[in-house]
């Protein structure tokens, strides 16, 4: 459980193979063929990016800003929920508010439901209208029920911090890996791989992609920087092109460490690939597209009332 990932509900009930996950999604689609045709949606990762920005905005507007771990937990809840519930039958703004409200209780940084509702109404008045406490309260039941009350989430952040010393990571390396971890919530990786595998992939990417000239980058802008650096990815295995000698040494150290550990290296590489293609895709992210697609199906069905 909490300390042992392999006994956790996350591992036992919320980690799927790609095939299983695809089947679950297909099933949702088949059940709501009509809705799917009527309301086409952008790539899931675009939507996830949109949701994560909404969460961040809501989190920032709270009386006490919500910390990253709770935002991450909320994103995992959203992903779990929407792997079982057709998104077009929900009001995502309500679901997002609820996911954050619940995640904050789990991560011991709870705020009153009123605060969440007030802030989300202020942010998205056209999607959250009537008295919404009851709606968020109801949605909480829905969310918990779909998750079978399994609400404790293991995140890769802990592994990252644990590995900082053994892998000689600098503060910059850690910040970079940290933002990669933040970004992985936009993908299906949280439903596919254990958190320590994701953490190692994030470290690997941080070490290979971080260039000496950009030492001082801000974690906030890392996503953008990562993308530009991701163009180096084809050469990631060529030490003459990636990073300084120190970075090179650290990567080598990581590779050695990995080969001595029993971590699944193939899985680590798959995570890296997934994240790199995410950065590719985000180049063409447009918030307005997501927003419109969502407002179309919420309006048409009166989900915003």
């Amino acid at each position: 459980m909490a300390a042992n990932y392999w006994a956790s509900t996350q591992y036992l009930h919320w980690q799927y193979s790609r095939e299983t996950l695809a089947q679950m999604r297909q099933k949702l689609k088949d059940e709501e063929k009509h809705l799917n045709q009527l309301f086409p949606l952008p790539d899931m990762r675009y939507l996830s990016c949109f949701f994560s920005k909404l969460l961040a905005r809501l989190g920032k507007n709270m009386p006490v800003p919500i910390r990253q771990q709770a935002l991450a937990t909320a994103q995992v809840y959203l992903r779990r929920f929407y792997s079982k519930v057709e998104i077009r039958k929900t009001n995502p703004y309500i679901v997002i508010t609820t996911a954050l409200y619940l995640a904050c209780k789990l991560e011991e940084c709870a705020h009153h439901i009123k605060n969440f509702v007030n802030e989300s109404r202020a942010l998205w008045p056209s999607f959250i209208t009537a008295s919404e406490i009851a709606k968020v309260g109801e949605c909480e039941f829905y969310l918990i029920s779909e998750m079978s009350s399994q609400m404790i989430v293991h995140h890769p952040y802990r592994t990252l911090l644990d590995l900082q010393t053994p892998l000689n990571l600098s503060q910059d390396d850690v910040s970079m890996a940290w933002s990669v971890i933040n970004d992985h919530y936009l993908t299906d990786l949280p439903l596919l791989y254990p958190p320590h595998v994701i953490a190692i992939a994030a470290i690997f990417l941080a070490l290979t992609l971080r260039q000496p000239s950009t030492n001082a980058q801000q974690p906030q802008t890392a996503t953008a920087n990562m993308y530009s650096q991701a163009s180096l990815r084809k050469d990631a295995s060529d030490p003459t092109i990636t990073g300084t000698t120190t970075q090179q040494k650290k990567s080598q150290h990581l590779v050695n460490w990995l080969s001595e550990s029993n971590v699944n290296i193939k899985a680590v590489m798959e995570c890296c690939q997934e994240i790199i293609s995410l950065y590719d895709l985000l180049e063409t992210y447009q918030e307005s597209v997501c927003k419109e697609a969502i407002s179309r199906f919420t309006r048409a069905q009166g989900l915003d009332k």
Binding site: A7, K89, L106, I133, L303, K305
Partner: protein, 501 residues
């Protein structure tokens, strides 16, 4: 009534869009056979599964704010969320087993395996001298209620002496209970879960003598990264079981606070009454959390004044300044006792009598308490040569029991035994001939404990299935607490145990 009192409001959707309806229905799966207890959060019922094998369950129902027609979704309380998430995650033979959670009609139903007994009930059974038969004084729901909430200013008078025949809990029962309790606690701590509210009422036993730690409503993870242990709710643990570092204002919860509670429970199993039965100082208006002078005084009465030279962190405690005032009120009494037993051995604490230790490192005050208590409860004397006077060394917790208790009721949380260390204590190895703990508390014991009392209000249960009847019929003081579903915020808990803003 009540198990689904608002059954007919579920069709109303609260918005134009989705509405939540449960896929599983409590009453389709379980037949409610009685009412067990009512607390701050809601109610506990006894039920039998409808799948035909007659299995018994306890269903804990968290009620919404207002019952009946006006029921509204208002957000699930932090403590319910904790209990739901932790119980779903945990799995250990000494932790209460959660069968399922059903969210239906704005209520949360947590379905647990049924436990026939709890330690409070067993302690009361022995303290009332009814351990021979089952008629006498079974701990009823009402008594449990009294004790399971925070103690009031008028604690129930010790009933034992008056009833004139308390009988000791057999020493092997005590040993098995304690071992299983520590085993469950070790599992919790290994998984970074603090229980924070251990007390006899929350420690249950199955009819086959297995201990199940229950009520994880206050439990929480410690050591989550980025998660300050200072944050969130404040004082926890029913006051009689509250560790000295918490009484002295520490807000740094560590597993050691649970081990102090285990020490108190051990002592209570032996003495049949709480060892430190203080009175809780109530919240003092805007001044915030008061210093629990009375409770600290009860501890000092037995153990002596904590001292800096033995507890390094002592002077850093927020309430350290108050400690001297505890000493003063107890001083004379203490000194008299000390002079009788330890002539010429002055205390070293802040103006009051400090702790005294014998050559084996046992707190002399505790030793005195221990021997007096064992004698008055009726355990046979501990004989140096085992088996002397025809007495079986397994009939008493013995000197090793005292040694373990001494190490659990250690002031300094850093020196206090951990659950793992306690499990390795010689008391459990039975080196003194006292035997090893049995996996079944009741093994070889001929006491028959009364069954948990459930009130059987037929009307009540029928109301549930009568269509169109929505009025809630109150049973047995069920009005007790506010809803468990209203507080969304940290520290906003309505549960009596929170002392927060």
């Amino acid at each position: 009534m009540s198990l689904s009192s608002s059954g007919h409001t579920s069709q109303k959707t609260s918005g134009g869009g989705f509405s939540y309806t449960s896929k599983v229905h409590v009453l389709d799966k379980y037949k409610v056979v009685g009412f067990i207890s009512s607390g701050t959060y809601g109610r506990v019922y006894k039920a039998i599964g409808k799948d035909g094998n007659g299995k018994e369950f306890a269903i804990k129902k968290f009620k919404p704010d207002k019952e009946g027609e006006a029921a509204q979704y208002t957000g699930i309380s932090q403590s319910a969320v904790r209990e739901m998430s932790l119980c779903s995650e945990l799995s250990h033979p000494n932790i209460i087993h959660l069968v399922e959670i059903i969210l239906e009609d704005k209520c949360i139903f947590m379905v647990f395996e049924y436990c026939e007994h709890d330690l409070l009930q067993i302690i009361q059974h022995h303290s009332q001298g009814s351990a021979g038969g089952s008629g006498g004084g079974g701990a009823g729901a009402s008594q449990q209620q009294q004790q399971s909430s925070a103690p009031t200013n008028n604690p129930a008078p010790p009933s034992a002496a008056a009833a004139g025949g308390k009988t000791p809990i057999p020493a092997p029962v005590v040993k098995s209970t304690l071992f299983q309790l520590l085993n469950g606690l070790h599992y919790l701590h290994c998984n970074w879960v603090l229980h924070r509210d251990l007390k006899p009422a929350n420690i249950m036993l199955t009819s086959s003598g297995a201990i199940r730690i229950g009520d994880l409503g206050l439990a929480r993870l410690f050591r989550s990264p980025l998660n300050s242990l200072y944050s969130g709710d404040k004082v926890v643990v029913t006051i009689w079981y509250r560790a000295p570092e918490l009484l002295l204002g520490s807000r740094h919860y560590t597993p050691a606070i649970d081990l102090w509670a285990v020490g108190c429970i051990f002592a209570e199993l032996l003495g049949l009454r709480p060892i430190f039965k203080g009175e809780e100082a109530k919240m003092d208006g805007k001044k915030g959390v008061p210093f629990q002078r009375n409770q600290m005084g009860k501890i000092v009465e037995v153990l002596g004044m904590p001292e800096r030279r033995r507890w390094e962190g002592l002077s850093g405690m927020p309430e350290y300044g108050h400690l001297a005032t505890v000493g003063q009120s107890q001083q004379q009494q203490q000194q008299q006792q000390q002079q009788q037993q330890q002539p010429g051995n002055g205390g070293g604490g802040g103006g009051a009598v400090g702790q005294q230790f014998n050559e084996r490192g046992i707190n002399v005050g505790l030793e005195r308490w221990y021997h007096n208590t064992l004698a008055s409860t009726g355990y046979p004397p501990i004989s140096a040569s085992s088996g002397a006077n025809g007495s079986n060394p397994a009939d008493t917790p013995g000197e090793l029991g005292l040694d373990l208790l001494n190490k659990l009721l250690e002031y300094d949380p850093i020196k206090r035994l951990t659950a793992e260390e306690a499990l390795r204590h010689p008391y459990f190895a039975g080196e003194d001939g006292g035997g090893k703990p049995s996996a079944n508390c009741f093994e070889g014991v001929d006491v028959r404990y009364p069954h948990r009392r459930v009130s059987q209000d037929d009307n009540d249960i029928r109301t549930v299935s009568l269509p169109g009847t929505r009025k809630t019929v109150g049973i047995g003081g069920a009005g007790g607490g506010g809803g468990g579903m209203d507080e969304g915020g940290a520290g906003g808990g309505k549960r009596g145990r929170y002392v927060g803003d």
